[in-house]
Symmetry: C2
Amino acid sequence: MGASKAAKAATHERILDIAAARIRSDGIEGLAVADLMKEAGLTHGGFYRHFDSQEQLVAEAAQRALVQGSEWTVAAGRHGGRQGYANLVDAYLSATHRDHPESGCGIAGIAADVARTSGPARTSYTRQVRECLRIVADLLGELDEDDAEREAALTVSALVGAITITRALGDSDISRRLLTDVRAALKERPSKD
Amino acid sequence: MGASKAAKAATHERILDIAAARIRSDGIEGLAVADLMKEAGLTHGGFYRHFDSQEQLVAEAAQRALVQGSEWTVAAGRHGGRQGYANLVDAYLSATHRDHPESGCGIAGIAADVARTSGPARTSYTRQVRECLRIVADLLGELDEDDAEREAALTVSALVGAITITRALGDSDISRRLLTDVRAALKERPSKD
DNA sequence: GTTGCAAGATGATGCTCGTCATCCTCAGAA
DNA sequence: TTCTGAGGATGACGAGCATCATCTTGCAAC
């Protein structure tokens, strides 16, 4: 069943995308080579034509998960200012995002796993957090620089914390209430009324 | 090597404590029965004299991890008011807490694992989050009730988020900066200056 | 002191998973 | 059209793990 170069590249991308999604929903430990390949429509044998080891796959998939997940903040950055900030908060703290980690923010999705690894995933993670903090600080640019940095740190922490907690809670009253409360608190905050 | 009732109870407690610690540092998947028993000074065989299955152990250990970790907020509640709030924020967002999840807050430590389970751990988790929110809201009691609820939601989310992110970052400049920034932002916040 | 019972040790079993050796089959060059 | 290289399939191996059967040993009741 030999394949062309284009087909191989497509397969490689497919495996990576699926791995990036599964890592966010099931964690790094939850990623099994055989399952992954089956989900890609292949069998386990061909895996090592694409990656040297599972460890290498995890490193690449973690990076991809982080980059894909960063489109949250990038999209918000496009709008800019207070409106972009509000859009980011509403989209991030939605039930949809809570219930679909596989296509969600990587900073929240793989934090626990990165904390338990000593591999290169930590480097990718750090870069992504830096970028995320910078973008949010820009959205809050009306304040002076130090204030913006602090507010960005608080915002990002609250976003990640709320999503992390509500994912553990599942879909319930407190879960929904926590999301709406944090949304409200974040949006009324930077304007010290 | 038969043991007395007291000895059995002590062993049971020891296993549970170790499991509660390991769950927080290595995750639920990282808990191996043989390793756990070895750490307790025993071999794997005796495990089933204490627990029906690993699943049951995990359920009990998760609950214990949550209760042990709740002493953060309980201690803060003892002081009460603005002082208790500041103490909680400083202790929670310390490098020590970041670097020692095994003895830290369970809400942050096992969130990702609970999100991936459908077992009874979710019930314990929900109860603990409720209690945590209530205690923090009490600390902010100067505000009216709705405000206090929103502020508590923001505070708890930010605490958990910051610890989660910084654990993934490890010990680095951004990690330390994020901790100090969130500490400062949280402490200057409820007093709308 | 004798005996029954249960904690804990030892070893076995079966499953899951990562990895590799080997075979098959088609894309692309000659 | 033929040949060859590589993508992918199949099957096997070994490690790690949860679980259980069985044996040993000391506590507790008589």
